[in-house]
Protein backbone atom coordinates (compact mmCIF):
# COMPACT_ATOMS: atom_id res chain seq x y z
CA UNK A 1 0.00 0.00 0.00
CA UNK A 2 2.79 2.39 0.98
CA UNK A 3 4.69 1.72 -2.22
CA UNK A 4 1.51 2.31 -4.20
CA UNK A 5 1.16 5.59 -2.37
CA UNK A 6 4.58 6.88 -3.36
CA UNK A 7 4.03 5.71 -6.96
CA UNK A 8 0.81 7.69 -7.00
CA UNK A 9 2.42 10.91 -5.75
CA UNK A 10 5.39 10.55 -8.10
CA UNK A 11 2.90 10.08 -10.95
CA UNK A 12 0.95 13.15 -9.87
CA UNK A 13 4.11 15.27 -9.68
CA UNK A 14 5.28 14.11 -13.10
CA UNK A 15 1.84 14.91 -14.50
CA UNK A 16 1.87 18.43 -13.09
CA UNK A 17 5.46 19.02 -14.20
CA UNK A 18 4.55 17.90 -17.72
CA UNK A 19 1.55 20.21 -17.73
CA UNK A 20 3.69 23.12 -16.59
CA UNK A 21 6.36 22.29 -19.15
CA UNK A 22 3.73 22.20 -21.89
CA UNK A 23 2.70 25.76 -21.05
CA UNK A 24 6.33 26.90 -21.40
CA UNK A 25 7.25 25.25 -24.69
CA UNK A 26 4.09 24.97 -26.76
CA UNK A 27 3.18 28.23 -28.45
CA UNK A 28 0.03 27.10 -30.19
CA UNK A 29 -3.13 27.85 -28.14
CA UNK A 30 -5.28 25.03 -29.44
CA UNK A 31 -3.81 22.10 -27.42
CA UNK A 32 -4.55 24.03 -24.24
CA UNK A 33 -8.09 24.80 -25.32
CA UNK A 34 -8.74 21.12 -26.05
CA UNK A 35 -6.88 19.65 -23.07
CA UNK A 36 -8.59 22.06 -20.69
CA UNK A 37 -11.93 20.52 -21.59
CA UNK A 38 -10.62 16.99 -21.08
CA UNK A 39 -9.10 17.88 -17.71
CA UNK A 40 -12.35 19.52 -16.68
CA UNK A 41 -14.22 16.34 -17.53
CA UNK A 42 -11.74 14.27 -15.53
CA UNK A 43 -12.46 16.36 -12.44
CA UNK A 44 -16.20 16.15 -13.03
CA UNK A 45 -16.17 12.39 -13.66
CA UNK A 46 -13.97 11.67 -10.64
CA UNK A 47 -16.20 13.87 -8.48
CA UNK A 48 -19.34 12.25 -9.85
CA UNK A 49 -18.18 8.76 -9.07
CA UNK A 50 -17.53 9.56 -5.40
CA UNK A 51 -21.30 9.60 -4.96
CA UNK A 52 -22.43 7.79 -8.11
CA UNK A 53 -19.78 5.08 -8.11
CA UNK A 54 -18.77 4.39 -4.53
CA UNK A 55 -22.21 4.97 -3.00
CA UNK A 56 -24.27 4.00 -6.05
CA UNK A 57 -26.43 7.12 -5.99
CA UNK A 58 -26.79 8.19 -9.62
CA UNK A 59 -26.63 11.95 -9.76
CA UNK A 60 -28.03 13.66 -12.85
CA UNK A 61 -27.30 17.05 -11.35
CA UNK A 62 -23.68 17.40 -12.51
CA UNK A 63 -24.71 20.34 -14.69
CA UNK A 64 -26.38 22.02 -11.69
CA UNK A 65 -23.14 21.87 -9.71
CA UNK A 66 -21.04 22.83 -12.71
CA UNK A 67 -23.30 25.77 -13.53
CA UNK A 68 -23.33 27.00 -9.94
CA UNK A 69 -19.53 26.87 -10.06
CA UNK A 70 -19.53 28.99 -13.21
CA UNK A 71 -21.92 31.53 -11.78
CA UNK A 72 -20.17 31.72 -8.41
CA UNK A 73 -17.07 32.76 -10.34
CA UNK A 74 -19.05 35.20 -12.50
CA UNK A 75 -20.65 36.83 -9.49
CA UNK A 76 -17.44 37.13 -7.49
CA UNK A 77 -15.58 38.53 -10.47
CA UNK A 78 -18.23 41.04 -11.33
CA UNK A 79 -18.91 42.13 -7.75
CA UNK A 80 -15.40 42.18 -6.29
CA UNK A 81 -13.03 41.44 -9.15
CA UNK A 82 -11.98 38.39 -7.14
CA UNK A 83 -8.90 36.51 -8.36
CA UNK A 84 -9.19 33.05 -9.90
CA UNK A 85 -8.06 31.17 -6.79
CA UNK A 86 -10.73 32.91 -4.72
CA UNK A 87 -13.35 32.12 -7.34
CA UNK A 88 -12.47 28.43 -7.23
CA UNK A 89 -12.29 28.25 -3.44
CA UNK A 90 -15.64 30.01 -3.12
CA UNK A 91 -17.19 27.74 -5.74
CA UNK A 92 -15.98 24.70 -3.81
CA UNK A 93 -17.54 26.08 -0.62
CA UNK A 94 -20.82 26.83 -2.37
CA UNK A 95 -20.74 23.36 -3.96
CA UNK A 96 -20.19 21.73 -0.59
CA UNK A 97 -23.15 23.61 0.87
CA UNK A 98 -25.28 22.74 -2.12
CA UNK A 99 -24.26 19.08 -1.85
CA UNK A 100 -25.18 19.13 1.82
CA UNK A 101 -28.60 20.66 1.14
CA UNK A 102 -29.30 18.33 -1.77
CA UNK A 103 -28.19 15.35 0.29
CA UNK A 104 -30.28 16.30 3.27
CA UNK A 105 -33.36 16.69 1.10
CA UNK A 106 -32.95 13.72 -1.19
CA UNK A 107 -30.60 11.05 0.10
CA UNK A 108 -33.36 9.35 2.04
CA UNK A 109 -34.85 8.52 -1.35
CA UNK A 110 -33.36 5.60 -3.12
CA UNK A 111 -32.51 4.67 -6.68
CA UNK A 112 -34.40 6.45 -9.42
CA UNK A 113 -36.14 8.89 -7.05
CA UNK A 114 -32.83 10.40 -6.04
CA UNK A 115 -31.86 10.75 -9.71
CA UNK A 116 -35.12 12.50 -10.57
CA UNK A 117 -34.66 14.89 -7.66
CA UNK A 118 -31.22 15.85 -8.96
CA UNK A 119 -32.64 16.65 -12.42
CA UNK A 120 -35.27 18.81 -10.74
CA UNK A 121 -32.49 20.63 -8.89
CA UNK A 122 -30.80 21.48 -12.19
CA UNK A 123 -33.97 22.96 -13.62
CA UNK A 124 -34.76 24.97 -10.48
CA UNK A 125 -31.29 26.50 -10.30
CA UNK A 126 -31.08 27.20 -14.01
CA UNK A 127 -34.41 28.99 -13.89
CA UNK A 128 -33.29 31.07 -10.93
CA UNK A 129 -30.06 32.13 -12.65
CA UNK A 130 -31.92 32.89 -15.88
CA UNK A 131 -33.97 35.40 -13.93
CA UNK A 132 -31.06 36.97 -12.11
CA UNK A 133 -30.25 40.16 -14.02
CA UNK A 134 -27.06 40.98 -12.15
CA UNK A 135 -25.21 38.01 -13.66
CA UNK A 136 -26.62 38.58 -17.11
CA UNK A 137 -29.91 36.69 -17.00
CA UNK A 138 -30.93 34.67 -20.02
CA UNK A 139 -28.77 36.72 -22.38
CA UNK A 140 -25.56 35.71 -20.62
CA UNK A 141 -22.62 37.84 -19.60
CA UNK A 142 -19.31 38.79 -21.19
CA UNK A 143 -16.20 38.37 -19.08
CA UNK A 144 -12.99 40.34 -19.51
CA UNK A 145 -9.95 38.26 -18.58
CA UNK A 146 -7.57 40.00 -16.17
CA UNK A 147 -3.82 40.14 -16.75
CA UNK A 148 -2.20 36.72 -16.60
CA UNK A 149 0.10 35.82 -13.70
CA UNK A 150 3.71 34.70 -14.18
CA UNK A 151 5.09 32.19 -15.21
CA UNK A 152 2.27 31.85 -17.70
CA UNK A 153 2.18 34.06 -20.77
CA UNK A 154 -1.39 33.35 -21.68
CA UNK A 155 -4.62 33.06 -19.68
CA UNK A 156 -5.79 29.81 -21.26
CA UNK A 157 -2.45 28.19 -20.41
CA UNK A 158 -2.91 29.25 -16.82
CA UNK A 159 -6.46 27.88 -16.73
CA UNK A 160 -5.14 24.66 -18.20
CA UNK A 161 -2.60 24.34 -15.40
CA UNK A 162 -5.15 25.25 -12.73
CA UNK A 163 -7.48 22.56 -14.04
CA UNK A 164 -4.56 20.10 -13.94
CA UNK A 165 -4.12 20.97 -10.27
CA UNK A 166 -7.81 20.31 -9.70
CA UNK A 167 -7.42 16.92 -11.40
CA UNK A 168 -4.68 15.94 -8.96
CA UNK A 169 -6.73 17.20 -6.03
CA UNK A 170 -9.87 15.34 -7.13
CA UNK A 171 -8.04 12.10 -7.85
CA UNK A 172 -6.14 12.26 -4.56
CA UNK A 173 -9.38 12.75 -2.63
CA UNK A 174 -11.16 10.00 -4.52
CA UNK A 175 -8.26 7.63 -4.03
CA UNK A 176 -8.11 8.42 -0.33
CA UNK A 177 -11.81 7.74 0.04
CA UNK A 178 -11.58 4.46 -1.82
CA UNK A 179 -8.79 3.15 0.38
CA UNK A 180 -10.17 4.36 3.69
CA UNK A 181 -13.00 3.37 6.00
CA UNK A 182 -15.20 5.89 4.18
CA UNK A 183 -14.89 3.90 0.96
CA UNK A 184 -15.59 0.63 2.73
CA UNK A 185 -18.70 2.11 4.31
CA UNK A 186 -19.93 3.53 1.00
CA UNK A 187 -19.34 0.20 -0.70
CA UNK A 188 -21.27 -1.57 2.06
CA UNK A 189 -24.24 0.76 1.78
CA UNK A 190 -24.18 0.46 -2.00
CA UNK A 191 -24.44 -3.32 -1.63
CA UNK A 192 -27.15 -3.30 1.00
CA UNK A 193 -28.22 -0.26 2.94
CA UNK A 194 -30.05 -2.03 5.78
CA UNK A 195 -27.33 -4.62 6.28
CA UNK A 196 -24.76 -1.79 6.34
CA UNK A 197 -26.76 0.14 8.90
CA UNK A 198 -27.10 -2.98 11.07
CA UNK A 199 -23.34 -3.52 10.83
CA UNK A 200 -22.76 -0.10 12.32
CA UNK A 201 -22.36 2.03 9.19
CA UNK A 202 -23.91 5.50 9.62
CA UNK A 203 -25.38 5.38 6.12
CA UNK A 204 -27.03 8.79 5.95
CA UNK A 205 -23.96 10.58 7.29
CA UNK A 206 -21.64 8.82 4.85
CA UNK A 207 -23.92 9.56 1.89
CA UNK A 208 -24.05 13.21 2.95
CA UNK A 209 -20.26 13.31 3.18
CA UNK A 210 -19.93 11.82 -0.31
CA UNK A 211 -22.48 14.30 -1.66
CA UNK A 212 -20.67 17.25 -0.08
CA UNK A 213 -17.24 16.24 -1.40
CA UNK A 214 -18.61 15.40 -4.83
CA UNK A 215 -20.53 18.70 -5.02
CA UNK A 216 -17.54 20.78 -3.91
CA UNK A 217 -15.29 19.27 -6.57
CA UNK A 218 -17.87 19.67 -9.33
CA UNK A 219 -18.43 23.32 -8.51
CA UNK A 220 -14.70 23.92 -8.29
CA UNK A 221 -14.28 22.38 -11.75
CA UNK A 222 -16.91 24.74 -13.11
CA UNK A 223 -15.46 27.94 -11.65
CA UNK A 224 -12.69 28.54 -14.23
CA UNK A 225 -15.06 27.87 -17.14
CA UNK A 226 -16.37 31.43 -17.23
CA UNK A 227 -12.87 32.80 -17.78
CA UNK A 228 -12.12 30.02 -20.22
CA UNK A 229 -15.04 30.96 -22.47
CA UNK A 230 -14.96 34.68 -21.50
CA UNK A 231 -18.70 34.32 -21.48
CA UNK A 232 -21.38 32.61 -19.43
CA UNK A 233 -25.04 31.96 -20.07
CA UNK A 234 -27.48 29.75 -18.19
CA UNK A 235 -28.39 27.37 -21.00
CA UNK A 236 -24.79 26.41 -21.70
CA UNK A 237 -23.57 26.50 -18.09
CA UNK A 238 -26.43 24.24 -16.98
CA UNK A 239 -26.45 22.17 -20.15
CA UNK A 240 -27.68 18.65 -19.45
CA UNK A 241 -24.85 17.44 -21.68
CA UNK A 242 -22.49 17.80 -18.72
CA UNK A 243 -24.60 15.41 -16.65
CA UNK A 244 -24.90 12.87 -19.44
CA UNK A 245 -21.26 13.02 -20.57
CA UNK A 246 -19.92 12.74 -17.04
CA UNK A 247 -22.18 9.81 -16.26
CA UNK A 248 -21.13 8.11 -19.50
CA UNK A 249 -17.45 8.72 -18.78
CA UNK A 250 -17.69 7.24 -15.29
CA UNK A 251 -19.64 4.20 -16.44
CA UNK A 252 -17.41 3.58 -19.45
CA UNK A 253 -14.28 3.90 -17.35
CA UNK A 254 -15.72 1.84 -14.50
CA UNK A 255 -16.81 3.02 -11.09
CA UNK A 256 -15.22 0.38 -8.88
CA UNK A 257 -11.82 2.10 -8.83
CA UNK A 258 -10.73 5.74 -8.73
CA UNK A 259 -8.89 5.30 -12.03
CA UNK A 260 -12.10 4.32 -13.84
CA UNK A 261 -13.55 7.80 -14.34
CA UNK A 262 -10.09 9.13 -15.24
CA UNK A 263 -9.75 6.56 -18.01
CA UNK A 264 -13.34 7.13 -19.12
CA UNK A 265 -12.96 10.91 -19.21
CA UNK A 266 -9.72 10.74 -21.20
CA UNK A 267 -11.19 8.21 -23.62
CA UNK A 268 -14.50 9.97 -24.21
CA UNK A 269 -13.18 13.51 -23.82
CA UNK A 270 -10.48 12.93 -26.44
CA UNK A 271 -12.93 11.27 -28.81
CA UNK A 272 -15.32 14.19 -28.41
CA UNK A 273 -12.61 16.74 -29.06
CA UNK A 274 -11.42 14.90 -32.17
CA UNK A 275 -14.95 14.54 -33.51
CA UNK A 276 -15.81 18.15 -32.82
CA UNK A 277 -12.83 19.26 -34.86
CA UNK A 278 -13.00 16.71 -37.64
CA UNK A 279 -16.73 16.20 -38.17
CA UNK A 280 -19.12 18.29 -36.08
CA UNK A 281 -20.05 18.97 -32.51
CA UNK A 282 -23.38 17.23 -33.04
CA UNK A 283 -21.79 13.90 -33.99
CA UNK A 284 -20.02 13.61 -30.66
CA UNK A 285 -23.36 13.28 -28.87
CA UNK A 286 -24.23 10.40 -31.17
CA UNK A 287 -20.89 8.72 -30.59
CA UNK A 288 -21.31 9.16 -26.85
CA UNK A 289 -24.63 7.31 -27.04
CA UNK A 290 -23.24 4.50 -29.17
CA UNK A 291 -20.22 4.02 -26.90
CA UNK A 292 -22.43 3.95 -23.82
CA UNK A 293 -24.65 1.26 -25.36
CA UNK A 294 -21.61 -0.79 -26.42
CA UNK A 295 -20.11 -0.64 -22.96
CA UNK A 296 -23.34 -1.39 -21.13
CA UNK A 297 -23.73 -4.52 -23.26
CA UNK A 298 -20.12 -5.70 -23.58
CA UNK A 299 -18.40 -4.38 -20.46
CA UNK A 300 -20.95 -3.35 -17.84
CA UNK A 301 -18.18 -2.71 -15.31
CA UNK A 302 -16.33 -0.41 -17.67
CA UNK A 303 -12.72 -0.44 -18.80
CA UNK A 304 -11.53 -1.14 -15.25
CA UNK A 305 -13.88 -4.11 -14.98
CA UNK A 306 -12.67 -5.39 -18.33
CA UNK A 307 -9.02 -5.20 -17.26
CA UNK A 308 -9.80 -6.98 -14.00
CA UNK A 309 -11.64 -9.73 -15.81
CA UNK A 310 -8.78 -10.30 -18.23
CA UNK A 311 -6.28 -10.36 -15.39
CA UNK A 312 -8.37 -12.82 -13.38
CA UNK A 313 -8.72 -15.12 -16.38
CA UNK A 314 -4.99 -15.03 -16.95
CA UNK A 315 -4.32 -15.87 -13.29
CA UNK A 316 -6.76 -18.77 -13.42
CA UNK A 317 -5.06 -19.99 -16.58
CA UNK A 318 -1.74 -20.03 -14.73
CA UNK A 319 -3.09 -21.86 -11.69
Amino acid sequence: MKRNGSFFWIGATVFLAAALLMTQIIGNQYPFFACYVILQFIVLAVAWSILGGYAGYVNFGTSAFFGVGVYTAVFLFKAFGAPLAAQIAAAAAVGALMGFALGLLTLRMQGIFFSIATIALTIVIETSITNWRYVGGAAGIQMQRPVVTEPFNNYVQMLFFVQALLVVLAVAISRYIQNSWIGRGLQALKDDELAAECTGVPTLRLKLLACVISGALMCAAGAPAAMYLQYADPSSAFNLNYSVSVLAMSLIGGTAHWAGPVVGAILLGTTQQLLTVTISSEVNVLVLGVMLVLFVVAAPEGVIGLIRRVRRNRNEGKA
Partner: protein, 248 residues
Protein backbone atom coordinates in the same frame (compact mmCIF):
# COMPACT_ATOMS: atom_id res chain seq x y z
CA UNK B 1 -16.18 -7.60 32.08
CA UNK B 2 -18.47 -7.62 35.14
CA UNK B 3 -21.88 -9.11 34.45
CA UNK B 4 -24.65 -6.62 35.28
CA UNK B 5 -26.90 -7.19 38.29
CA UNK B 6 -29.01 -10.26 37.57
CA UNK B 7 -32.24 -8.37 38.32
CA UNK B 8 -31.60 -5.72 35.69
CA UNK B 9 -32.74 -6.90 32.27
CA UNK B 10 -30.35 -6.47 29.36
CA UNK B 11 -33.21 -5.58 27.08
CA UNK B 12 -36.60 -4.33 28.21
CA UNK B 13 -39.38 -4.07 25.68
CA UNK B 14 -42.41 -2.24 27.04
CA UNK B 15 -45.83 -2.03 25.42
CA UNK B 16 -44.42 -2.12 21.91
CA UNK B 17 -46.93 -1.60 19.11
CA UNK B 18 -46.19 -1.63 15.39
CA UNK B 19 -48.78 -1.08 12.69
CA UNK B 20 -48.54 -1.38 8.92
CA UNK B 21 -51.50 0.70 7.77
CA UNK B 22 -54.51 -0.95 9.39
CA UNK B 23 -52.64 -4.16 10.15
CA UNK B 24 -51.37 -4.51 13.68
CA UNK B 25 -48.13 -6.48 13.45
CA UNK B 26 -47.22 -6.11 17.11
CA UNK B 27 -49.83 -5.42 19.72
CA UNK B 28 -48.65 -4.16 23.08
CA UNK B 29 -45.70 -6.53 23.44
CA UNK B 30 -43.71 -6.38 26.67
CA UNK B 31 -40.84 -8.65 27.57
CA UNK B 32 -37.55 -8.55 29.48
CA UNK B 33 -34.47 -10.35 28.24
CA UNK B 34 -31.99 -11.20 30.99
CA UNK B 35 -28.26 -10.89 30.55
CA UNK B 36 -26.69 -14.11 29.35
CA UNK B 37 -30.03 -15.63 28.47
CA UNK B 38 -30.66 -17.91 25.48
CA UNK B 39 -34.06 -16.76 24.39
CA UNK B 40 -36.12 -18.61 21.81
CA UNK B 41 -38.75 -16.75 19.81
CA UNK B 42 -41.33 -18.83 18.01
CA UNK B 43 -44.66 -18.35 16.35
CA UNK B 44 -46.43 -19.15 13.09
CA UNK B 45 -45.58 -17.25 9.91
CA UNK B 46 -46.74 -13.66 10.04
CA UNK B 47 -47.01 -13.66 13.83
CA UNK B 48 -44.61 -10.71 14.18
CA UNK B 49 -41.31 -12.35 15.09
CA UNK B 50 -39.22 -10.59 12.46
CA UNK B 51 -41.16 -7.36 13.01
CA UNK B 52 -40.24 -7.53 16.68
CA UNK B 53 -36.53 -7.90 15.95
CA UNK B 54 -36.74 -5.17 13.32
CA UNK B 55 -38.07 -2.94 16.07
CA UNK B 56 -35.27 -4.01 18.41
CA UNK B 57 -32.54 -3.48 15.83
CA UNK B 58 -34.04 -0.21 14.64
CA UNK B 59 -34.98 -1.12 11.08
CA UNK B 60 -38.58 -0.14 11.92
CA UNK B 61 -39.88 2.79 13.90
CA UNK B 62 -42.57 1.85 16.38
CA UNK B 63 -45.93 3.51 16.93
CA UNK B 64 -45.88 3.11 20.70
CA UNK B 65 -43.81 1.61 23.45
CA UNK B 66 -40.14 1.71 24.35
CA UNK B 67 -37.04 -0.38 23.89
CA UNK B 68 -34.52 -0.05 26.72
CA UNK B 69 -31.10 -1.61 26.29
CA UNK B 70 -28.65 -1.68 29.19
CA UNK B 71 -30.64 0.99 31.02
CA UNK B 72 -30.73 3.31 28.03
CA UNK B 73 -33.85 4.16 26.04
CA UNK B 74 -32.91 3.37 22.44
CA UNK B 75 -36.40 3.65 20.93
CA UNK B 76 -35.47 6.65 18.78
CA UNK B 77 -31.97 5.58 17.80
CA UNK B 78 -30.99 4.70 14.24
CA UNK B 79 -29.90 1.08 13.61
CA UNK B 80 -26.17 1.86 13.43
CA UNK B 81 -26.28 3.55 16.83
CA UNK B 82 -27.92 0.46 18.28
CA UNK B 83 -25.30 -1.76 16.67
CA UNK B 84 -22.58 0.33 18.28
CA UNK B 85 -24.29 -0.05 21.65
CA UNK B 86 -24.12 -3.82 21.29
CA UNK B 87 -27.14 -5.13 19.40
CA UNK B 88 -26.24 -7.27 16.37
CA UNK B 89 -28.44 -9.30 14.11
CA UNK B 90 -28.48 -11.69 11.23
CA UNK B 91 -31.12 -11.62 8.54
CA UNK B 92 -33.75 -14.19 7.68
CA UNK B 93 -32.67 -14.01 4.05
CA UNK B 94 -28.89 -13.48 4.19
CA UNK B 95 -27.79 -9.98 3.18
CA UNK B 96 -24.06 -10.16 2.53
CA UNK B 97 -22.15 -7.25 0.99
CA UNK B 98 -21.97 -8.89 -2.40
CA UNK B 99 -19.14 -6.90 -3.93
CA UNK B 100 -16.81 -7.85 -1.08
CA UNK B 101 -14.92 -10.88 0.12
CA UNK B 102 -15.84 -12.60 3.36
CA UNK B 103 -12.94 -10.86 5.09
CA UNK B 104 -14.05 -7.45 3.83
CA UNK B 105 -17.60 -8.11 5.02
CA UNK B 106 -16.21 -8.50 8.52
CA UNK B 107 -13.92 -5.50 8.14
CA UNK B 108 -16.99 -3.29 7.68
CA UNK B 109 -18.14 -4.34 11.12
CA UNK B 110 -14.67 -3.86 12.59
CA UNK B 111 -14.31 -0.42 10.98
CA UNK B 112 -17.66 0.94 12.01
CA UNK B 113 -19.19 -0.95 14.90
CA UNK B 114 -16.42 -2.34 17.07
CA UNK B 115 -15.26 1.11 18.06
CA UNK B 116 -13.01 1.14 21.07
CA UNK B 117 -11.07 3.84 22.83
CA UNK B 118 -7.67 2.33 22.23
CA UNK B 119 -6.18 2.64 18.75
CA UNK B 120 -6.21 -0.67 16.95
CA UNK B 121 -3.68 -1.33 14.21
CA UNK B 122 -4.64 -2.87 10.89
CA UNK B 123 -2.73 -6.04 11.77
CA UNK B 124 -4.59 -6.37 15.07
CA UNK B 125 -7.91 -5.98 13.31
CA UNK B 126 -6.92 -8.58 10.77
CA UNK B 127 -6.11 -10.94 13.68
CA UNK B 128 -9.48 -10.27 15.29
CA UNK B 129 -11.21 -10.88 11.98
CA UNK B 130 -9.34 -14.13 11.37
CA UNK B 131 -10.04 -15.40 14.86
CA UNK B 132 -13.77 -14.82 14.38
CA UNK B 133 -13.67 -16.55 11.00
CA UNK B 134 -11.74 -19.47 12.48
CA UNK B 135 -14.26 -19.85 15.27
CA UNK B 136 -17.04 -19.88 12.67
CA UNK B 137 -15.19 -22.39 10.52
CA UNK B 138 -14.83 -19.92 7.67
CA UNK B 139 -11.10 -19.23 7.85
CA UNK B 140 -10.43 -20.91 4.51
CA UNK B 141 -13.06 -18.68 2.87
CA UNK B 142 -11.61 -15.35 4.01
CA UNK B 143 -10.63 -14.17 0.55
CA UNK B 144 -13.58 -15.68 -1.30
CA UNK B 145 -16.26 -13.38 -2.71
CA UNK B 146 -19.45 -13.41 -0.64
CA UNK B 147 -21.38 -14.39 -3.76
CA UNK B 148 -19.50 -17.68 -3.97
CA UNK B 149 -20.60 -19.01 -0.58
CA UNK B 150 -22.98 -21.91 -0.01
CA UNK B 151 -26.16 -21.38 2.01
CA UNK B 152 -24.69 -22.62 5.27
CA UNK B 153 -21.53 -20.58 4.75
CA UNK B 154 -23.64 -17.47 4.12
CA UNK B 155 -25.49 -18.08 7.39
CA UNK B 156 -22.22 -18.47 9.22
CA UNK B 157 -20.80 -15.37 7.58
CA UNK B 158 -23.81 -13.35 8.72
CA UNK B 159 -23.22 -14.56 12.27
CA UNK B 160 -19.50 -13.83 11.93
CA UNK B 161 -20.20 -10.30 10.70
CA UNK B 162 -22.61 -9.80 13.58
CA UNK B 163 -19.97 -11.10 15.99
CA UNK B 164 -17.40 -8.68 14.59
CA UNK B 165 -19.53 -5.79 15.85
CA UNK B 166 -18.77 -7.03 19.41
CA UNK B 167 -22.38 -7.49 20.47
CA UNK B 168 -23.83 -7.97 23.93
CA UNK B 169 -27.05 -9.10 22.32
CA UNK B 170 -27.12 -11.20 19.17
CA UNK B 171 -30.37 -11.72 17.34
CA UNK B 172 -30.40 -14.68 15.00
CA UNK B 173 -33.30 -14.59 12.57
CA UNK B 174 -33.89 -18.12 11.30
CA UNK B 175 -30.21 -18.78 10.80
CA UNK B 176 -31.01 -22.46 10.24
CA UNK B 177 -33.79 -22.16 7.68
CA UNK B 178 -33.19 -24.30 4.64
CA UNK B 179 -30.18 -26.13 6.07
CA UNK B 180 -29.68 -29.89 6.26
CA UNK B 181 -29.94 -31.50 9.69
CA UNK B 182 -26.18 -31.82 10.10
CA UNK B 183 -25.79 -28.16 9.13
CA UNK B 184 -28.49 -27.22 11.64
CA UNK B 185 -26.46 -28.93 14.35
CA UNK B 186 -23.35 -27.12 13.21
CA UNK B 187 -24.98 -23.67 13.40
CA UNK B 188 -26.67 -24.56 16.69
CA UNK B 189 -23.33 -25.55 18.21
CA UNK B 190 -21.92 -22.24 17.05
CA UNK B 191 -24.71 -20.31 18.71
CA UNK B 192 -24.28 -22.37 21.88
CA UNK B 193 -20.58 -21.60 21.98
CA UNK B 194 -21.29 -17.88 21.50
CA UNK B 195 -23.84 -17.97 24.30
CA UNK B 196 -21.24 -19.45 26.61
CA UNK B 197 -19.15 -16.31 26.11
CA UNK B 198 -21.48 -13.91 27.86
CA UNK B 199 -23.42 -13.04 24.74
CA UNK B 200 -27.16 -12.91 25.14
CA UNK B 201 -28.90 -14.50 22.19
CA UNK B 202 -32.40 -14.18 20.83
CA UNK B 203 -33.04 -16.96 18.37
CA UNK B 204 -35.96 -17.02 16.00
CA UNK B 205 -36.48 -20.48 14.67
CA UNK B 206 -39.02 -22.81 13.17
CA UNK B 207 -37.03 -25.96 13.83
CA UNK B 208 -38.47 -27.12 17.14
CA UNK B 209 -35.72 -29.48 18.23
CA UNK B 210 -33.24 -26.63 17.83
CA UNK B 211 -35.39 -24.25 19.86
CA UNK B 212 -35.94 -26.85 22.59
CA UNK B 213 -32.27 -27.69 22.83
CA UNK B 214 -31.05 -24.11 22.71
CA UNK B 215 -33.38 -21.98 24.78
CA UNK B 216 -33.47 -21.16 28.47
CA UNK B 217 -36.79 -19.49 27.82
CA UNK B 218 -39.16 -19.49 24.89
CA UNK B 219 -41.74 -16.93 23.88
CA UNK B 220 -44.49 -17.64 21.39
CA UNK B 221 -46.10 -14.88 19.36
CA UNK B 222 -49.35 -15.17 17.49
CA UNK B 223 -50.93 -12.33 15.52
CA UNK B 224 -48.64 -9.82 17.19
CA UNK B 225 -49.39 -10.89 20.76
CA UNK B 226 -47.49 -12.96 23.29
CA UNK B 227 -49.50 -16.12 23.87
CA UNK B 228 -46.98 -17.97 26.00
CA UNK B 229 -43.65 -17.41 27.67
CA UNK B 230 -41.68 -19.76 29.90
CA UNK B 231 -39.34 -22.73 29.80
CA UNK B 232 -39.34 -24.64 26.52
CA UNK B 233 -41.33 -27.53 27.92
CA UNK B 234 -43.92 -25.22 29.50
CA UNK B 235 -44.44 -23.38 26.25
CA UNK B 236 -44.67 -26.58 24.23
CA UNK B 237 -47.26 -27.93 26.61
CA UNK B 238 -49.34 -24.77 26.39
CA UNK B 239 -52.72 -25.37 24.78
CA UNK B 240 -52.79 -22.09 22.84
CA UNK B 241 -49.29 -22.60 21.48
CA UNK B 242 -50.22 -26.02 20.21
CA UNK B 243 -53.32 -24.61 18.55
CA UNK B 244 -51.61 -21.60 17.01
CA UNK B 245 -48.28 -23.00 16.09
CA UNK B 246 -48.21 -26.75 15.97
CA UNK B 247 -51.70 -27.16 14.65
CA UNK B 248 -54.10 -29.58 16.27
Amino acid sequence: MMPPEPQVPLLRISALTKRFGGFIALDNVSVDIRPGERFGLIGPNGSGKTTLINCISGAFRTEAGTVVFRDEDITQLQPHMRTRRGIARSFQIPRPFKSMTVAENLMVALDFAAVTDELVSAAQRRDTMMSILTRMGLASKADVSATKLSQVELRKMELARAMATRPNLLISDEAMAGLSSSEVDEVLDLLMSLASQDITIIMIEHIMQAVMRFSDRVMCLDAGRIIAIGTPSEVMANQRVQEAYLGT
